[in-house]
């Protein structure tokens, strides 16, 4: 047994370390199209102190550390491109605190979306969090780290905007706290203490988030989804602006897809609403359907498809089985809302050229300050040609995002390279300085956001 393996066993225990082919195989993969790369070890720690020990060892041995949450970024962000230690964080799954008055939850980094959703529904039904569309195994910390967005993005923004505080293990092994918790107070606010920008959006290349304090929001007793449809994609931005102006919705998503065929070419809106009484619900419905969307409905430009009570939470996605292929990946972007029509048209063209049924989606963030626009490409894992097609479509779409004036959300290596080619040179220099300062030995998720000379 090599000395690193032995040292890892001493930190986490024998059962939580493996260098056997089976673990190395599984932990080499992202679930999307990124080519696999084998780690040297797979490790599943339970505590912040264990992570600290692993990071210190990694610095000593100059071996990479690649943190992994739910593994559902689908951008290869936790693929061990340079080998090293694949750090599975899902054993750190304790919900430490829910503070009802200040409306926040403190969770360990391995707590999953589904776990928090159900916990709140059961014990704090008047509180909720912004749940992304990812499978519920996705972690709270991972989603925050990639600037994810969920079903409360319209009123409250990115999930990273909902952070009160973090506990982080630095690449050099120190444990740091950010936000009010860092001065010994409760975890109720991030501001006005020094911000958390060093660890979010960095794909785990600057440290390992071990705890998150996440803002919670009022959960009303009646929640449901209304569906609206237009044929003309040019109408989508104005509909989104108008809907966001009402401040009546919790979530506004526009989407279009080739399957089922009758829906192809149509632009659907799913609009989540919530109310604590029938009176409130009726009022909101009136504002949205009658006052705001009524003109489209009356003119025939749009159609109301009904309102269904109850939200499916955790959300269940069947996208991966569309081609009976067990695989899909998507390019997510943060786009100006006005770009929706072009994003749709260009994305559809890319999909059709690669013989992939198109799927696009735009989620309103904030007061339509932006939208998360995604293009999804399904593939058949058993057919390498479809994987290749999907990968090519994804790369083309990465290029498209920047061409259209957006930013790539959670970019993989290809998208990171594109972004860095366009980044302000001084910003790039600063990124390099930050990375070198925090990670002098370059052990943290190497390959990601590596600024070349």
């Amino acid at each position: 047994m090599d000395s690193i393996h032995q040292a890892l066993i001493e930190i986490v225990g024998e059962e939580q370390v493996s260098n056997r082919p089976e673990e190395l195989y599984i932990y080499s993969f992202d679930l999307g199209t990124t080519e696999p790369h084998r780690p040297d070890y797979a490790v599943a720690p339970r505590t912040t102190e264990e992570i600290q020990g692993i990071v210190k060892l990694a610095n000593k041995e100059k071996i990479p550390v690649v943190p992994l949450g739910g593994g559902l970024s689908l951008a290869g962000l936790a693929v061990p491109f340079k080998g090293g230690i694949a750090l599975d964080l899902k054993r750190m799954d304790s919900i430490i605190e829910v503070n009802e008055e200040a409306r926040y939850a403190v969770v360990e980094c391995g707590v999953s979306q589904g776990q928090l959703t159900t916990y709140l529904e059961r014990y704090y039904p008047h509180l909720t969090h912004s749940e992304p569309g990812a499978p519920p195994q996705a972690t709270i910390a991972g989603n925050v780290a990639i600037h994810g967005q969920g079903d409360l993005a319209h009123p409250y923004g990115f999930n990273s905007d909902m952070v009160n505080g973090l506990e982080v293990v630095l690449p050099t092994g120190e444990i740091c706290k950010f936000g009010s918790c860092s001065i010994g107070a409760s975890w109720f606010t991030q501001h006005p203490l020094p911000d958390l920008g060093l660890f979010l959006g960095w794909s785990g290349a600057t440290g390992i988030i071990t705890k998150v304090s996440l803002r919670l929001f009022p959960c009303k007793s009646i929640r449901g989804t209304g569906l609206f449809v237009v044929e003309n994609e040019e109408l989508v931005p104005e509909v989104m602006y108008k809907l966001s102006h009402t401040q009546m919705a919790e979530d506004i998503v526009a989407f279009s897809q080739a399957i089922p065929p009758f829906a192809s070419g149509l632009q659907h809106f799913s609009i989540n609403m919530a109310a604590d009484s029938e009176k409130e619900l009726e009022f909101k419905q009136e504002i949205i359907w009658d006052d705001t969307l009524g003109e489209y409905i009356r003119s025939g430009a749009g159609g109301f498809l009904g309102f269904v009570r109850g939200l499916q939470r955790p959300q269940v996605s069947k996208t991966s089985d569309w081609r009976k292929g067990g695989g899909f990946e998507y390019v997510g972007s943060i786009m100006p809302v006005k770009k929706y029509p072009e994003c749709y048209r260009r994305g559809r063209e890319i999909s059709e050229r690669h013989d992939i049924p198109y799927t696009v989606l735009g989620r309103c963030i904030g007061a339509a300050h932006s939208m998360m626009f995604s293009w999804t490409y399904a593939f058949n894992r058993a057919d390498p040609e479809t994987v290749k097609q999907a990968r090519e479509a994804l790369h083309e779409t990465d290029d498209l995002v920047l061409e259209l004036g957006g930013t790539i959300w959670k970019p993989g290596l290809y998208g990171q390279k594109l972004a860095m080619e366009r980044l302000d040179p001084n910003t790039l220099k600063l990124m390099k300085k930050v990375k070198q300062l925090l990670d002098p030995n370059g052990i943290m998720n190497p390959g990601n956001w590596e600024v070349s000379q």
Binding site: E15, Q16, S18, R20, P21, E22, E23, Y25, I26, Y27, F29, L31, A42, A44, G70, G71, L72, D88, K90, R91, D93, S112, G114, Q115, T117, T118, R122, P135, P136, Q137, P314, V316, S317, K318, S320, D321, K324, G325, G326, G327, F328, N380, R381, A382
Partner: protein, 643 residues
């Protein structure tokens, strides 16, 4: 077997590893896959298992013990199938079982699984206990053998042989007697239902068990079956119809529910306790029976029923399915699913954890002890609770002796016993097979013994030997010199580069045969060999000395080696393999055929007498947390002069 040959080749790639399968239906916890809850590595999740299966079959990774353990850690609890939102979910367990079948046919399965299946092949139960002991649980109960009764009461292996589960078998029998149910049992004639065999991937053995059971039931005119175990219920209800076994099958809880509904059971005695009920997988998720147990418990005066967070189709498996109540791949940790579940039960505040499955019963009782909760939480089968409410008291019986000395006092009673290949010989045969796979050649398996030992030779042939030879001679209590002489005479007649013996036998343990035969043949030999590598004319071996010291030799061929245990992992012999081996040659000769007269076979060493060790008068059961029990055990052993 390649991916192209795999039955689910067009489906197995469809798993996205999204992780829904880890959650219970009510999403309360992300660790509802028992193997994933235990190990928390992605390899042990359902998705990890499917991806690894595909990787193995497509040649991306090789078979290994670890891969086999990952596969066999699946308890077939069905949480993944129920939870997966994708359309191929109905085949998830089928895919895992099909992969296990591949390993079974190749003989490459964990040793505990191998033992489980071999015991069933030989004795019709996974414990390897004699068939003649199967009906002992019913002694003193007045329960009748089946003879045209309304119901066959099918007890199953766990209820028949596990001492704790036997109490449940008796309790249920007493309850049915009290209710005036017309039922009988098969006793020693009962055979394994095959449910776990099926989930372990031994298709041929399962088919044989199902066919034999169906034939037996039909011959007896059985139409209605009530089972003690949900595992039996599942096999008979869902799988036996494929073998023309269309019986009216109930799990006992359904019968009790019906009896209570018809006022045929007086439960006025009540049962004052706070009870939480655990839904067993093969009653719940596999067969959608959630309400009958709750109806029964709620009907009993004095019971306050509290639900655990994960209940009904969200139940967390006890970790005993897929044969794991025996093969125990999920034990040994506070993260064992049984211990997690016991903690959950305890957290409800209940004093009784009620179960309706003998596997769950045994798993949870061990878990309660491991958690140190014996004073706070008791595990009871629902039948025991009902029995108490009916005022029935059920007696214990002591465990029967496994071995008896016969009237000659020079041998054991062999009736009801099934013989197997001696462990050491099995390692030797596996070593021969691995040499053959690497270098070519042929293997002849030789034994000296009575006709019953043809079965042993058949197993050797099924394992891969090319020819089998039996010298027909009774070797009971025989002088090893005589056996060596016979073997030497046989071997001399056969072309041989390498002769392999097991280092000793499990029964008499003389450890002399190999060395004697080598001397008689005039060839070099080495004993207690723990590793070997052969080249064209010589062989490199290591042999084990004390304290783990190894000494290495290079020996010129022809040579003889006696093989120690642990040198390899003997492959499993599937029932399909045994059937195929019937076509291989098996020669039988007498010593006379070898030119050995009776005068030449007079033993110089004679066995005087066999006797069992004297029975002790008392036993001390040490319970509690490992730290405490280890200290107490050390103290007890020291006081007894062992240390």
């Amino acid at each position: 077997m390649t991916l192209a040959d795999y039955k689910y080749a067009d489906t197995i790639h469809r798993c996205f590893r999204c992780g829904y399968c880890k959650f219970p239906v009510n999403w309360m916890d992300v660790n509802n896959c028992p193997a994933y809850a235990r190990f928390r590595m992605e390899t042990y999740s359902c998705g990890g298992r499917l991806w690894l299966t595909r990787a193995w079959l497509s040649g991306e990774i090789d078979w290994s013990d670890h891969l086999a353990e990952i596969l066999y850690s699946c308890t077939a609890c069905k949480n993944c199938e129920v939870k997966c939102p994708l359309r191929f979910n109905v085949d998830i367990l089928n895919m895992i079982i099909a992969a296990k079948s591949e390993m079974v046919e190749a003989g490459r399965i964990p040793s505990s699984v191998k033992k489980f299946l071999e015991n069933i092949q030989r004795q019709g139960n996974p414990y390897g206990h004699p068939r003649v002991k199967r009906g002992e649980w019913m002694e003193g109960t007045g329960i009748e053998p089946y003879q045209g009764h309304d119901f066959l009461y099918y007890v199953g292996c766990v209820g028949s042989y596990d001492t704790r589960a036997q109490e449940v078998a008796r309790a249920l029998g007493k309850v049915m007697q009290k209710a005036g149910v017309s039922f009988g049992v098969l006793g020693n004639d009962e055979n394994c239902d095959g449910n776990e065999v099926n989930k372990l991937g031994e298709e041929t053995l399962f088919e044989m068990l199902a066919e034999e059971n169906v034939a037996q039931f039909k011959k007896l005119g059985i139409q209605k079956v009530v089972t003690l175990s949900p595992h039996s219920y599942n096999a008979m209800k869902n799988d036996y119809p494929m073998f023309n076994g269309d019986f009216n099958v109930m799990h006992y809880i359904q019968l009790l529910d019906s009896l209570l509904g018809d006022d045929r059971l007086d439960i006025s005695g009540g049962y004052n306790a706070t009870v939480t009920y655990h839904d067993p997988c093969f009653l719940g998720r596999w067969n959608n029976e959630y309400e009958a147990p709750r109806n029964v418990l709620k009907a009993i005066p004095g019971i306050q029923l509290i639900e655990m967070e994960r209940n009904r189709d969200s139940t967390l498996c006890c970790g005993g399915g897929g044969g794991n109540f025996y093969i125990d791949l999920l034990g040994g940790s506070e993260r064992s699913p049984a211990r997690i579940r016991v903690r959950e039960a305890h957290a409800t505040g209940a004093g009784i954890l009620a179960v309706a499955c003998p596997n769950c019963l045994t798993m949870f009782e061990d878990a309660v002890k491991a958690e140190g909760l014996e004073e706070e939480l008791a595990v009871r089968d629902v039948s025991e609770i009902v029995a108490e409410a009916c005022g029935i008291r059920v007696c214990d019986t002591s465990e029967a002796d496994a071995i008896k000395i016969d009237s000659s006092q020079r041998d054991i009673e062999k009736s009801g016993l099934a013989f197997k290949i001696n462990d050491w010989d099995e390692y030797a045969l596996e070593a021969a097979l691995q040499l053959k796979e690497k270098l070519g050649g042929t293997i002849t398996a030789v034994t000296v013994g009575p006709q019953e030992w043809n079965d042993i030779l058949r197993r050797a042939l099924a394992m891969g030997a090319d020819t089998g030879i039996r010298i027909d001679h009774d070797v009971a209590s025989e002088d090893p010199y005589i056996v060596a002489l016979i073997l030497k005479t046989v071997i001399q007649r056969l072309p041989h580069d390498l002769v392999l013996f097991g280092a000793q036998s499990e029964d008499f343990g003389s450890g002399q045969l190999g060395a004697m035969v080598a001397e008689m043949l005039g060839i070099p030999h080495a004993t207690l060999v723990v590793s070997l590598e052969a080249e064209e004319n010589e062989i490199h071996i290591s042999r084990e000395l004390e304290a783990g010291t190894l000494e290495s030799y290079t020996i010129e061929l022809p040579a003889l080696l006696t093989i120690h245990t642990g040198i390899n992992q003997p492959r499993y012999i599937s029932l399909g393999g045994i059937k195929k081996a019937m076509e291989k040659e098996l020669q039988v000769m007498s010593p006379n055929d070898l030119g050995l007269s009776v005068d030449m076979l007079i033993p110089m060493v004679k066995l005087k007498r066999l006797e069992l060790p004297p029975k002790g008068k008392e036993a001390e059961l040490i319970t509690g947390q490992p730290e405490a029990t280890a200290g107490q055990l050390a103290k007890t052993l020291k006081e007894a002069g062992i240390f």
